[in-house]
Subunit: 274 residues, 2 copies
């Protein structure tokens, strides 16, 4: 945040914001890119669906999938205005690629509708926006402009994964993706294991589709026998799976075989810890 | 996990578990100990409420508040059996005090009903069990016994706080409570700031009621001017508040004054980052 952009660099208090629209953080179901569409009402509170149905201006990763999501919301709770008349703006590529905090992206212009009194929705492809997904630059800009930020309740794959891992949930970190180069990846796994051993902090990370097998194999080969490895995939879906065991136990699977329920192409969350 | 306790120390595969009950991780609303009771349906998906209403055996932190929660669920979705006939077991004190991972607690005996075919619910006082709350020893024991673990969707204060902080959500850690001793606390804050500066990892922590003012003052005095401090309190409630700014900006508040919306006694989540 530059002080110049804020005038005197003072914190804008909520009472100054009443004439502004609000920025709603709208979670999305976890079935994106999966074979099934789950019933929204099963995983989204009616409060979230109603709030989303009232929004007419959106900031998203992908306008096409946002329209598809709005269609699903409309089937549960009629939208205030038709999908065709919604204003939907995509985050620029630089944010997708480099992340909000490296791209040097100024999201303030995206928030103009809120300054003019319109509520805005920030949505990602799956789960909570700005958590393991782009969007924090938009939230930061909202704070800078004195626009109220309202996070709505919905599924968050990382937290469902952590809760179901059986690993320490009172001290944990999410570190994003591991390096793709095999040697760098093994080095990073050892580094994360050392943090877990030293502090008890569970280390969560994710992998892109078609890389689960390589990551799994590296985890099994690299970690100490007593370290625990948990994974989950498709949580909240009918094909949900989560398992947890020590590296020593996982090594008893036939060589090169992933555990049942973990396949190479489905997005998965991994956790290692003590 | 000891191999002896598992027989041959092999991973129990899900297909072996079909005759067992399941362990449901049941989130609770974030209004515990607050002045208001929010409408459950606003913050809990109907899928979660229905799953909870079908459970007859519970593991919890506090039986009394669990019964109160069940009464609220019953008002939304009738319980399968009356509250009086529910089996409710509390986690032992050692888990509350030392945490699941230091207490050396074996939760397997608590899971006997699941081995006999009954579904079990694990619930904490607020938010997701086993996340910033006790319960991971129960989840771990379920994996060891081959009992399927089903996390349900609901509010999680940490993730709502992170999403609404405007800080990096693609690399973050939750580190629990900071030390109470002023010097130790300042040292820990510097340490967390160094991690954030070095790796970009947002650091989240919580404070117990009646300590927010001391923590706030320490953050303001200790952090570098450009470091960001965000806090949130009462998210999902009518008195929800979240704000974010640099230490330099926060220092412009009158000396010793906390930001509007943050009071000394309400549970709050703090985040620092770059």
């Amino acid at each position: 945040m530059s002080d110049a952009s804020r005038g005197r660099g003072e914190i804008v208090m909520p009472q100054a914001t009443r004439q502004f629209g609000k920025l709603f953080l709208v979670p999305a179901p976890l079935d994106f890119g999966c074979d099934e569409d789950i019933d929204l009402k099963q995983v989204m509170p009616i409060g979230t669906l109603c709030a989303a149905a009232n929004i007419t201006h959106w900031i998203c990763e992908n306008a096409k999938t946002t329209r598809a999501y709005l269609k699903r919301i409309d089937a549960c709770t009629p939208l205030k205005v038709s999908i065709q008349t919604q204003t939907i703006v995509e985050l620029p590529r630089q944010v997708h690629k480099k992340g909000d905090h490296l791209g040097g992206f100024d999201a303030k212009p995206l928030l103009t509708p809120a300054l003019e009194g319109q509520d805005l929705g920030l949505v990602s492809e799956a789960g909570m926006p700005a958590v393991a997904d782009p969007g924090s630059s938009v939230v930061r800009a909202a704070h800078e402009l004195g626009i109220q930020v309202i996070p709505l309740v919905g599924p968050v794959s990382l937290l469902l994964a952590l809760a179901s891992s059986g690993l320490n949930g009172q001290n944990f970190a999410f570190v994003g993706y591991l390096p793709q180069d095999p040697q760098d990846r093994a080095r990073r796994i050892k580094e994360l294991e050392q943090i877990a051993l030293k502090s008890g902090q569970t280390q969560l990370f994710i992998e892109t589709p078609y890389r689960n097998a390589a990551l799994w194999s590296s985890l099994i080969q690299t970690l100490l026998p007593g370290s625990r490895i948990a994974f989950s995939s498709g949580l909240t879906l009918t094909k949900a799976v989560n398992q947890s065991g020590t590296a020593q136990q996982w090594r008893k699977l036939p060589s090169g075989k992933m555990p049942e329920g973990l396949n190479n192409q489905t997005p998965a969350v991994f956790a290692i810890g003590i």
